[in-house]
């Protein structure tokens, strides 16, 4: 009874075991299959009882079995194998399916790889705002991850069209395409921003010869995709794969488009930067201090640094107008428009233009300044300007200067013996009151002596070793006292350096300096009219 029950039970167990959904096999101590259930039979028809399991199924038993296909099934399954060894030497192999998990893992790996590639691509592409470099970077990335060769073409109104060609294993090349772009299906459309033509529609055999890089071999598949930009197409990307490589799958085409979108945005940004910086450059050229021209008998040097690091222009300016002829004076102007940055710089441009127009009247500083005052009062600007004017004419030895200040720091004279003099010229700021007062002072420089025009950015530089002191006029005078007999360039550089070092990277105002020096000639005896102190030749 009990035995019968057990037999019934065991038959019952066998039938249940046999109909279990997961495949189960039993082998003896020699690895010969003893029994297998229905699920295992469907999966491994070759593993009938009596065969050696390891011979019937290659790769058995190795933790996981992949690429298993049941009868009439069109996909591969994979199973985890769990062997259980029994006391009698037999082993039961329980198989649990993990196909979905494996697929998910593979998909995840692919996605991760792509996400990582896109992240790397974005970083690499965003780094540069230079169009050529952007295209080179995009080309390199494309051949590392997507294709054997990549061609990036920018839209150009006429031929030849600039392009970057990148072949795997080679450096990107700058090329120009003179050929008819519409010979490549979809290329002309892509350059106009039309949607891409599916790769399978493009016959690689029909590709024009110019599209295939020298030594590339047969082309297996081609992808042409637009590089979408900021509203306008930034160009087109052509990807080539060799004949021996798998053709682009639809999935890969979509991915190539994602990559193209990033490249296109980066290229557009670079193009926009180039346009903007070219405009800025052109406008800025007029606002930056000029290269100082040669002026008869005088040595000139200027230094300039804008307060705001991001903007190269500011409210300080200087200009030099060389004498129109023999016996005429040259005019040096240095000024400071209140305010900082581009707005102040725009007003310096107007002041400079007005002064340029008033140049024929430069013999009379007061008249020039008064007319400038009228012009500023009648304009809509509420800003004012301080100015120092210096008319320079050569003497037999040395220079004659006529100096006028309008609300500006008085010029400093460095005599040959190191004495520093303040030129006593005072005057009202220009652009505030209906009438202005000025006084013009005449000064003679002996050879080796200099006159310094500067803006308050020098003396009001805050900082120093203790962090909170003004550079101040006293320190400037002391420094200049050691500058006797130095070339103009050296003095300008020295004064600029002292102020900038004093500010030590803190915020400072605009800085402008012009040095007018009477060059040390070979005239040892000619010390000049009002030259003071001793002048010793080198």
């Amino acid at each position: 009874m009990a035995d019968l029950k057990r037999a019934d039970l065991s038959a019952d167990v066998v039938s249940r075991w046999s109909s279990a959904p997961c495949p189960v096999l039993v082998t003896d101590a020699d690895g010969v299959v003893v029994a297998l259930n229905a699920a295992a039979e469907r999966l491994f028809p070759q593993a009938a009882p009596g065969v050696v399991l390891a011979e019937a199924i290659t790769g058995w038993p190795d933790g996981v079995i992949e690429g298993v296909r049941g009868a009439d099934e069109s996909w591969d399954r994979s199973y985890e194998v769990h062997p259980v060894t029994h006391d009698d030497g037999t082993t039961t192999w329980w198989l649990t399916e993990n196909t979905d998990a494996r697929l998910a893992e593979t998909a995840l790996r692919t996605e991760r790889r792509r996400a990582q590639f896109l992240a790397e691509a974005s970083t690499a592409l965003l780094g540069s705002l230079n169009l050529q470099r952007c295209m080179q970077v995009a080309g390199k990335l494309a051949v590392q991850h997507l294709a054997d060769a990549a061609l990036l073409i920018t839209p150009a109104p006429q031929r030849p069209v600039p392009a970057v060609l990148c072949v795997r294993g080679r450096e990107p090349e700058q090329i120009e395409l003179a050929a008819e772009l519409s010979e490549v299906p979809g290329l002309a459309e892509a350059l106009q921003g039309f949607p891409p033509v599916p790769s399978r529609w493009i016959d690689p055999a029909a590709a024009p010869a110019w599209l295939i890089p020298p030594g590339f071999g047969d082309v297996g598949s081609i992808v042409v995709t637009p590089l979408p930009g900021h509203g306008v197409p930034a160009g087109a990307l052509v990807l080539l794969r060799k004949a021996e490589r798998a053709a682009f799958t639809e999935d890969e085409e979509i991915f190539a488009r994602l990559f193209a979108a990033r490249s296109g945005v980066a290229m557009s940004a670079a193009r926009m930067f180039a346009q903007q910086s070219s405009i800025t450059e052109t406008l800025m050229r007029e606002l930056l201090p000029p290269a100082l021209p040669e002026v008869a008998g005088a040595e000139l040097a200027g230094r300039y640094r804008a307060a705001l690091e991001s903007e190269r222009v500011g409210g300080d300016f200087y200009d030099v107008y060389p004498a129109a002829g023999d016996g005429r004076e040259s005019l040096v102007v240095l000024g400071d428009v209140c305010g900082k940055g581009v707005e102040a710089a725009v007003l310096t441009g107007k002041v400079r233009n007005t002064l340029h127009a008033l140049l024929p009247l430069a013999a009379d500083h007061h008249r020039v300044l008064s007319m400038l005052n009228d012009a500023l009062l009648s304009s809509h600007h509420t800003r004012f300007v301080t100015l120092a004017l210096a008319s320079v004419s050569p003497l037999a030895a040395g220079l004659r200067l006529r100096l006028t200040c309008a609300g500006h720091l008085p010029p400093l004279i460095v005599r040959a013996d190191g004495v520093v003099e303040v030129v006593e010229t005072v005057g009202t700021v220009v652009g505030v009151l209906p009438e202005i007062d000025t006084t013009t002072v005449e000064v003679t420089l002996a050879p080796g002596e200099t006159c310094l025009l500067y803006t308050d950015g020098i003396t009001e530089a805050r900082g120093g070793p203790l962090g909170d002191q003004m550079f101040g006029e006293e320190r400037l005078h002391e420094a200049l006292a050691r500058c006797a007999d130095m070339p103009a360039e050296a003095i300008a550089e020295h004064v600029h350096m002292l102020a900038a070092e004093w500010a030590r990277g803190r915020d400072h105002d605009d800085i402008a300096v012009v040095v007018i020096a009477a060059p040390r000639g070979q005239h040892l005896s000619a010390v000049g009219g009002s030259g003071r102190g001793r002048y010793t030749a080198a």
């Binding site: 230079n130 120093g464 050691r482 130095m486 070339p487 360039e489 050296a490 070092e501 080198a538």
Partner: protein
């Protein structure tokens, strides 16, 4: 010295002789003669690179040595350098553009706050004469200007010159910014160490000990794309301890504290004149500046080397250096919570005073 007595560099003259003549003319402030000497050397068949590096470069090195030995004031240094700069321009004009096919495009710039432009200028001229396309941006280029220029011109490499060690943090920021813009950086100049150790520390793509080596490096295979965007702290994890940040932010207070401490401890300082005090304050500011740089690169030797050099400079000027050691002690007390700064100060103090090590 008149134009007619201008020394002529005969073909037989050695490079050293020409350099000697140029030094005499430049130190004498005779720009005209200086230009003549260099042009004569060119005419006599000396090649442009030799004139630039072995004549003008040699004179410029002598400027530094003479200043250190107190035979030249800072203003004279500026005067000689200004003349040398004109001579470089004259030489470059005389040798004309290179006839060779253009090589790579290189941007040459000095670190922000770096006033010694001549080494960079010489490199720019050497590169030009070798056929490179060169954009020379000059002295003290703010990183933002350099990067804007790099975007505009798209160079194959940036050559960054620095001679003042205290500008190393700015140099690091500039190198990182160029690399983030996708341009490799070749660093050079005294600031990066005689063996280029700081260039390596900052992850520069290349380092060259002099202009010739830099030109050779650039003429060879250019460093490829640099590593991408990263931050200074990725190169220097020790910056996370905030010692560099704290010393930088409090340096004026440190200088004040050091001055107060010195007045208490060193009787001589208590009766210093206004001018002497001013110089002392400037020296203390330099000491703090070098200390923070030393902490930035995590190399105590940078600070020790600076103090050794300062002691020599003071000795050359006959100034007693007795306050250096007490200054280090005062700073050590102020910075007692900063182990790296303290260790640096202790090491420098030991180095100044060999007996205390015994």
């Amino acid at each position: 010295m008149t134009a007619s007595s201008k020394p002529r560099a005969a073909p037989s003259l050695s490079v050293e002789d020409v350099a000697g003549q140029l030094w005499t003319a430049a130190a004498g402030g005779d720009e005209h003669a200086a230009g003549g000497i260099a042009l004569q050397a060119l005419e006599s068949g000396m090649d442009t690179e030799t004139v630039l590096l072995d004549v003008i470069g040699a004179v410029q090195r002598k400027v530094g040595e003479e200043w250190a030995a107190n035979r030249l004031t800072v203003t004279q240094e500026h005067a000689v350098t200004a003349i040398n700069d004109r001579v470089v321009a004259a030489v470059s004009l005389a040798s004309g553009p290179s006839s060779r096919a253009p090589l790579a495009r290189v941007t040459v710039a000095c670190v922000d706050g770096e006033w010694h432009a001549l080494p960079a200028r010489l490199l720019a001229e050497v590169l030009r004469s070798r056929g490179f396309r060169v954009d020379y941006l000059g002295a003290q280029v703010p990183a933002s200007h350099l990067i804007a220029d790099v975007h505009r011109t798209g160079p194959d490499a940036v050559a960054l010159s620095g001679s003042i060690p205290t500008r190393l943090p700015a140099a690091h920021a500039t190198i990182t910014a160029c690399q983030a813009a996708g341009v490799p950086v070749i660093a050079g100049g005294a600031a990066f160490g005689t063996d280029g150790r700081y260039a390596r520390l900052f992850g520069a793509d290349a380092w060259a000990p002099d202009a010739r080596a830099a030109a050779d490096l650039l003429a060879g295979k250019l460093p490829g794309a640099p590593r991408g965007a990263h931050q200074a702290v990725d190169d220097l994890p020790h910056l996370l301890d905030q010692e560099y940040t704290m010393i930088s932010r409090t340096s004026p207070q440190l200088v004040k504290a050091a001055l107060a401490g010195l007045r208490e401890r060193v009787p001589a300082v208590a009766c210093y004149s206004e001018l002497q005090l001013q110089h002392t304050v400037e020296d203390l500011a330099s000491i703090v500046d070098y200390l923070r740089t030393s902490v930035y690169v995590d190399d105590p030797e940078l600070f020790t080397g600076f103090l050794r050099w300062t002691a020599d400079i003071l000795a050359a000027r006959g100034v007693p250096a007795g306050y250096l050691k007490p200054a280090l002690d005062v700073l050590g007390e102020e910075l007692r919570d900063f182990p790296r700064a303290c260790a640096t100060l202790v090491r420098a103090a030991d180095d100044l005073d060999p007996e205390s090590r015994a």
